[in-house]
Each structure stands twice: as C-alpha cells, then as structure tokens.
C-alpha cells in the first residue's frame, strides 16, 4: 500500500502518465470535433495508423520533424474528407463508413510502407522529437519535470486542448459547429452550409487524430511498424463520451487513462508474483469502462449525432 502511495506521488509516474496520454489527447480532441458536428468517426484507428506512417515517412524522406507533423495532419484530413463525403452529402451509415476508413487507411499505410521499403530487415529509424528542457519552467518543482520536460508534441497536444476549447466556446465558427451537431436545420436557415461545416469539422478532427498516430512514430518511438497503434484510437471513442464532448474533460479523461496505464506497469513489477499480469493489463480498460458508465449518465450528446441531414428535406 505504501508502495502505491509512493508511486502516485512520484514525478516520473505523472510524467509517464502524460506521455502515455498524449496520443489519446490528440485522438479525443479529434473525435470530439467530428462528433460535435454530428458525425461519428470510427475511422480513427486507421487514421492513427495513417498519421503514424505518413509523418514518419515524411521525416525519413527528409522533410524535417515539423514537416512530418504537417504531412501527418494532411494525411488525416484526406481520410477525413473521404469519411465526410460518404457520410455528409451522401448520408451513408457513419458506422460502416468509419470502419471502412479504418480498414482502408490501415491497409493503405502498410501497403505504402512496404512498397517504399520492400527489403528492410529491421525497421528504419528517424531522429525523433527529444524531451525539451524549457528554462525556468522546467525547474518548477513537480510541475517542471512532469509537464515541461516532455517532447514538443506533448506541448502541442496541450496547446490543442486550449485551441479547441477556444474555437468551440469563443468564436462564431464554434457556435456554428455546435449548432450543426445539434440542429442542422437552424444552421441551414442561417444561410450557412451544413455540408461545409460538417465536412470541415471531420477533416480538422481527422487531422488531429493523425497527429496522435504521428506522436507514436515521431516522439514515443522512432520507427513505424504495422499494428503499433494497438487500439489507442478505439479508446478515444470511449473517452469522448466520458468527456461529455468538452475539451477540458477530454484532457482529464486521457490523463486518467494514461495514469491507469502507468500505474498498471508499475504494479505489475511490484506485485506481479501474486496476481496474474493480465489483470493489470486489463485494469486501465476496466476502469475506463467504469468511469464511462458513471460519466455517460450525465453526458450531453450532440442531438444530431449519427443523423444525416439532406438539403431541402425536413
């Protein structure tokens, strides 16, 4: 018991939690943007893979790290456009289209990787983002090592939380975006384009999702490999409900999951002899489901989520 307390109070534990949470922060924000506009995007798992591959590949080809981030975002936006066209003007099932995008993006990423590098025997590596050491801020006790000695992409993720919150709550675009997810007819009556807003939101959200994938290959690790997304995208779909479509809570949810995961890794070594390891591996997911059950009761769903809207039809 003392051990657990000691772990929970250590800087390295919270630094690890934020590191594990970073791809989830991008992913939850992305899913949140899509769903706020009324479109569920189950393409997330594949868009993670596409972002991971494209960002890494761009850096490997010499685009530079920030060039890679941009390429990953563009790749995400491209798959968002596909999902947007299929679900918004064509009004197809958002579930089916999303799963289709996941399968397509995952396979295309790996196909591209293997076509470009047919004979590699070990995954080629890039020089990834390194942990920053921001003067003054890094020296703040506790907060310094936990927040300000992370990589630039973690900083970007935290900045994105603020940006998404600001856009949604303080700008006209944000009001329109929320309205199109609640009552598209009212947006149409205002003379705004429902299609344009929804497709735009799905593209922007997908770009954010792709950054989550890019974090895995450009910051958490330095190489791409098939299957390395490993379900992280799906977790974001659950976390966005936990977050009740609020950016601040999205950050909290991602951090909570990161903390559960960081804790299970440490507990597995501490008391691994007494309890089967699978119990620990399972724990973050079980606790997330539990948190979801509690939080979802009060969740405010975008009212037009999953409902296609066609111009001229009431």
């Amino acid at each position: 018991m003392m051990d657990i307390l000691q772990i929970l109070l250590s800087e390295s534990f919270w630094a690890a939690s934020l590191r594990i949470a970073t791809p989830l922060i991008f992913g939850v924000l992305g899913a949140l943007l899509c769903e706020k506009s009324g479109v569920l995007n189950l393409g997330i798992e594949g868009i993670f893979a596409a972002g991971a591959m494209c960002g890494w590949m761009a850096v490997w080809l010499g685009a530079g790290l920030w060039g890679g981030v941009l390429v990953a975002a563009l790749a995400g936006a491209f798959f968002g456009l596909i999902h947007g066209i299929l679900t918004v003007p064509l009004g197809l099932s958002q579930h089916v289209s999303g799963l289709g995008v996941t399968l397509f993006a995952t396979s295309l990423s790996y196909f591209t990787y293997r076509t470009a590098l047919p004979t590699v025997t070990s995954p080629p590596r890039i020089e990834p983002f390194r942990a920053l050491d921001i003067p003054i801020l890094s020296d703040i006790p506790f907060l310094g090592p936990v927040v300000f000695q992370q990589t630039a992409m973690t900083m970007l993720a935290l900045a994105m939380v603020l940006l998404v919150w600001y856009v949604l709550n303080r700008t006209a675009l944000g009001v329109a975006l929320q309205a199109v997810g609640d009552n598209p007819d009212s947006v149409d009556a205002q003379g705004l384009s429902v299609y344009g807003l929804r497709i735009g939101a799905v593209m922007a959200g997908s770009a954010l999702m792709a950054l989550g994938g890019a974090f895995l290959t450009m910051s958490a690790f330095d190489a791409f490999f098939f299957g390395m997304v490993n379900g992280r995208g799906w977790i974001c779909i659950a976390l966005v409900i936990f977050a009740s479509w609020k950016p601040g809570k999205a950050l909290l949810g991602a951090l909570l999951f990161g903390a559960f995961d960081a804790l299970q890794v440490r507990l597995q070594t501490e008391v691994g002899a007494m309890v089967p390891g699978q119990v620990f591996l399972m724990a973050p997911y079980v606790l997330s489901i539990f948190a979801l059950v509690v939080a979802a009761r009060r969740a405010e769903y975008p009212r037009a989520l999953l409902t296609p809207w066609f111009k001229g039809q009431r």
Binding site: S122, G227, M228, A262, T269, E270, G272, L281
Partner: protein, 330 residues
C-alpha cells in the same frame, strides 16, 4: 497452312502436358525447391526476420524459389496454407502458435507438401515438422554477463506474451544471472503485444525508476528506453548493437540457417518427413550464439562466460528448460 497450324497446336498441347508432368520432378532435379513462408507479422519482427534471412540466403544461393505472405491473421492462416499447398509449393514454412490444431489438420490434407512450422507442440507424420527458437543456451550465457555487470543488483525484463518460447529464454537468462550473482533481483513485465514499442518503453522506464540498471530487451523499445536513461541492455534473437551504440552488453542470437538448410535438403532429396527440428537452434548446431561487446564487459566475466560456452558446446553443461511464466522477485 492449316495443317501446319494444327500440328503446332498439338505440339504445344503435348509439350505443355509433358512440362506439367515433368515440372515438379524437373525442379527437384535442378535443385530449386519451391518454398513459401507464411508469417503472422511483418518480416521486420525480430523472430520472423531470422527465418526470412535464412530463406533469402537459400534463395540467393539458387536452391529455392521463395515467396512469402506476411502479416497474415491467425484466422486467415489456414486459407493461406491451403492456397500455397494447392499451388504445388513443396515446403511451407511458418508459425502456428495461434492455430496449432487447425494447422495440423491442413497439413494432413496435403501429404505431398512438407510443412516446417514454428510450434509449441510436436511433429505429426507424415509431413508436419516443427521448430522453435531454442536459444536458451546463449540466453543463459547473456544472463551470466548481465548478472556480473549489474551494480544495483536489479535487472528489468520486458516481454511480449508469456508463452513458452518467451518464458524459456527469460528463465534461462535469470538462471544464468543468478549463477554468477545470487544477490540479483528481477523485475518482470509483459505487455501482451508483439510490437508496441511505446508501451515497451514505458514498462522499461518504470523498471529503471524502480532501480533496474540492466534491461533485458525482449521487445523493440526497451533498448531505446535504456539509451535515453544511459543504462545497459541485453539483446535477444537479433543483434541490435549497431542501432544502440554503447548500450547492448551482449545478445543471444538465433540462427535459422541450420534448420532451414536441413529442411530444404530433405525436400530436394525427397526424404522430408515429420521431425522436430528444434535441436538445430542449439548452440552445438550453430543455431544459437552469443555476441558480447568486449568494450563494455570485463575480461574476467568474459572468460567465465566463454568457459561455460565451451562446456555447453562439449555437451558437458545442460541449460535447464523452464517454460513457466517468470515473475518479479518482489
């Protein structure tokens, strides 16, 4: 013109038929065996890369026609096995840890095709042979190096899944370390994934936070974490010392060539039958070896390790096989 054409056509037909009949025999005579490999993960994965390497070497020597399918899901594996068998492939190489029983059923349907599969279980007559990465011997030796080199007496180990072939190597490593250093304590973790380097890294960081100064890098990502913290690591299956300079103390390597070359020769000679090829991964057959970074390991440790290596090669020392899930010492 017309009659000439019909003769030509008949000749082509006859020729094709003759060719079809003679082709398998002809190929065997010419010494090119048709080999297909089916992998459940991409060829970059450590374990699979060793099989891929040995098969490519045989292909470059002109002994085999080599085709492969990578990243085949376990649920799709039987279909791919059947497709290659139907195509007349003479030797199918792969890994059936996720479909042991089903794979044996497929093999029974194609008695003319040889199967050489990575498996936790035994061979089945007439055509289902098995192999595995039996490199517990070099793993034991790498454990000796680690046990002698640790200063904190804490060694961290991050594994993929706790299956026999992983447990066996980890247990041998631990036994080797304990043989030279009874004080040593182990931290053991499994990430339940074959390839999630960010997760493996986080496990490694957690162990280094808990005092580990040597990391057993069973998975990609562990050595990366070791480099970032400036601690040492021990490699497994492949030699990654070039990727992590000044970090990898030693690695237990797996060589598939002795296994693959024997199987190919057996197929070419028409003598392939169900057998356990596991022993060809032993050190005495050249299937396993130890590589040590002499700049990082002291001469006396090296001498002790080499003495044990000689005993193993001479058959005077047998490394225990223990397939139980290894656990932390806490």
């Amino acid at each position: 013109m017309k009659s000439k054409f019909s003769i030509t056509r008949r000749a082509i037909l006859a020729g094709t038929a003759a060719l079809a009949l003679l082709l398998p025999a002809g190929a065997a005579l010419a010494g090119t065996v048709k080999v297909a490999a089916i992998y459940t993960l991409p060829v970059e994965q450590q374990w699979i890369s060793r099989i891929h390497l040995a098969l490519n070497a045989a292909k470059d020597r002109g002994e085999i026609d080599y085709v492969f399918s990578e990243n085949v899901a376990n649920t799709d594996y039987e279909r791919v096995m059947r497709e290659y068998a139907e195509q007349g492939v003479q030797l199918v190489v792969g890994e059936v840890f996720g479909l042991e029983r089903a794979a044996r059923k497929v093999a029974a349907d194609y008695p003319e095709t040889g199967f050489l599969m990575g498996s936790s279980f035994g061979p089945v007559a007439p055509n289902f042979s098995v192999f595995d990465n039996w490199i517990h011997e070099p793993s034991y030796l790498s454990g000796m190096v680690a046990g002698a080199s640790t200063e904190s007496n804490v060694i961290g180990m991050v594994g993929g899944y706790a299956i026999p072939e992983v447990n066996r190597l980890m247990n041998a490593f631990m036994e080797g370390a304990r043989a030279v250093n009874p004080e040593v304590k182990f931290l053991v973790n499994f990430i339940d994934s074959w390839y999630d380097p960010p997760k493996a890294k986080e496990s490694a960081f957690a162990m280094m936070d808990a005092g580990a100064d040597i990391m057993f890098a069973e998975r990609f990502g562990v050595a990366d974490a070791a480099v970032e913290r400036g601690v040492k690591a021990v490699g497994n299956v492949i030699d990654t010392s070039a990727d992590y300079p000044n970090t990898i103390l030693t690695s237990a390597l797996w060589h598939m060539e002795p296994t693959i070359d024997r199987a190919i020769a057996a197929v070419a000679g028409g003598t392939f039958e169900a057998a356990d090829y596991g022993q060809y991964s032993f050190m005495s057959y050249g299937g396993g070896s130890l590589v040590v970074d002499k700049t990082l390991v002291s001469a006396e440790v090296l001498a002790e390790v080499e003495a044990t290596e000689t005993s193993i090669m001479e058959g005077m020392f047998r490394v225990n096989v223990n397939d139980d899930r290894p656990v932390s010492d806490k």
